[in-house]
Amino acid sequence: MASVTLTDVRKVYHGGVEAVRGVSFDVADGSFCVLVGPSGCGKSTLLRMVAGLETISGGTVRIGDRVVNDIEPSERDIAMVFQNYALYPHMSVYDNMAYGLRNRGTPKAEIDQRVREAARILDVEPYLDRRPKALSGGQRQRVAMGRAIVRKPQVFLFDEPLSNLDAKLRVQMRVEIKRLQRALGVTSLYVTHDQVEAMTLSDLLVVMNGGRVEQIGTPTELYRRPATRFVAGFIGSPAMNFLAGRIENEGTVTIDGHRIALGTPARGMLPGAAVEVGLRPEDLQLANGGGAQLSMEVEFVEELGATRLLHGRSAGGAITVQVPAAETRSSGTLGLAIDPALVHLFDPADGRRAGMAG
């Protein structure tokens, strides 16, 4: 097993397009790192540079203590799972898994033992003689994983491996990937645009935007203390509300005249400065009696079964509130109660988390 270290990694394509603009982070041995971001943010390019499928324009990629910039993909001791599985259509499941080992000259008996072992773990033993064409999407996905496992690599690389599956299977495979990674303890890099996958799978979450890293941390850190407005809007579902407000003093912001108390003092902000106030739909509550700090006009309701989303307008902009299914109020003008500790402030100029120290 090995850690993966990226130092100031850059990718510039012919014609000067910069896809990755200096990314550095460190994935500890055995941990699961997820790269997440909107399409075009450079996350796949970064993964492919670690795999050796793209050349590295600048910086270094280390696997363990070896700089792999100029090492062939097959020599990097990695295995990759592709979005469309990339199984060899003319080979049986067995041969698909054995191919890489044969190319490396692994003894036949050992190949056989490793392939059968992987097939057993992944529950594809009955299909070893079939062609990929004869398998369902989920089974193909397992075979693709099996091909990665048999190599016993230092690092697993996953490039949006679940996006071709239907919703139910996706959740199921997500759990299996996590379980498998825990059991094998192999360092993993996983690219996705799905923030639920990102939150649930990762030990270390890297949010990327425009070729740069927006924030690195555990899923809880990123959820609780998003460093930028982008991360705040990207992590968490339904997405955070952003309302235009102003600093009144260290302890209060106002949204269109409504005063909202802050749990942590807004240090270093001048009174009167514009801020974006971030409020998660699940952190807002309907006020009982006179505790309302803000009010909303409900426009429509989304029913989710266990909870309900109220969409509407409030001072400072559009707002969404998540209420429990037992809540009966779902129309008209409703008062909202806000926990001071759960108010996020962002500087509208650069999108950085504003004011609150620490």
Binding site: G52, A86, Y88, P89
Partner: protein, 283 residues
């Protein structure tokens, strides 16, 4: 499509098809029948439409003895020449074009697109157009009256290269990348992945190219002078004498029938692969 057709409406397509079959099949039938009569029967201008009794004798003479008067070569030698020529052309074309398509699609080298366009442009220059310079080159290389001279100029093929290129472009990039990670170099990827995936395409091309090679007329006519280098298509032409000598029509007919057989066999034997290669997109 059309609902509630009348009896006539249902018969009409069959009648049209039968007429079509008759138009195509009748000359072939005539050739078969002609090859079973004596030459005198045909020569008096009233050849019967039923088979005669001379079949065994005619085919034996055609294959192993030769018509005698016009060419001394038996047709079995011509069949062998034609078969060798068609095989070499078909296999050669496939080998050359799959390799050049592989280079054009999967490698980045200087003037890659220039090379591709040069191959592409030769599509506009079939053998007939460049026949004089080609003849000159082959003659200067001393390849007249040889199998090499017969086949080499016909092997270079833009069509097959284009076809393979189009097919390779549909192979997902991830397969190349998976191969790279699996430690397969360019040659291994070609041998282990690309060739097996191209199997049906190669089969389809082989059928087309074999028939193309078999049917060559102008080039063999120019390049071969010796009787023992003749192809069967040329052989038929030479059997029909225009002077006062009597053309042995039953032997001409038998030769024509024999000339039809190998292409038919190739199509029939490879039909399944052929159709799959043209319609299937495996992955």
């Amino acid at each position: 499509m059309v609902e509630r057709r009348t009896l006539f409406g249902r018969l009409l397509p069959h009648l049209v098809l039968l007429a079509g079959v008759a138009v195509v099949a009748f000359p072939v039938y005539l050739a078969v029948v002609g090859s079973t009569h004596e030459s005198a029967v045909i020569a008096n201008g009233q050849m019967p439409l039923y088979p005669g009794a001379q079949a065994a004798d005619t085919y034996y003479r055609t294959l192993f003895i030769g018509p005698g008067r016009t060419t001394r070569e038996p047709v079995s030698g011509m069949l062998l020449n034609s078969f060798l020529m068609a095989m070499i052309i078909a296999v050669g074309k496939i080998a050359i074009s799959i390799l050049s398509a592989y280079a054009v699609v999967y490698f980045r080298f200087p003037l890659r697109m220039a090379a591709f366009w040069m191959i592409f442009v030769t599509l506009m220059l079939p053998v007939e157009v460049r026949i004089y310079p080609t003849y000159k080159v082959v003659a200067d290389l001393g390849m007249l009256d040889s199998m090499a001279g017969l086949t080499l100029p016909l092997i270079a093929s833009a069509t097959a290269t284009l076809l393979f290129r189009q097919f390779f472009m549909t192979v997902p990039d991830e397969l190349v990348e998976a191969s790279k990670i699996d430690g397969a170099g360019p040659f291994r990827f070609f041998k282990d992945t690309l060739l097996p995936l191209s199997r049906t395409n190669m089969a389809a091309l082989f059928v087309i190219l074999f028939i193309y090679g078999w049917n060559q007329y102008l080039w063999p006519l120019l390049i071969t002078t010796r009787d023992d280098m003749q192809t069967i298509v040329i052989g038929i032409k030479k059997m029909i004498v225009t002077s006062d000598a009597l053309t042995e029509w039953q032997i001409v007919m038998a030769t024509a029938v024999l000339a039809m057989l190998p292409p038919v066999l190739v199509v029939v034997l490879m039909q399944k692969l052929f159709v799959r290669g043209l319609v299937e997109t495996e992955k």
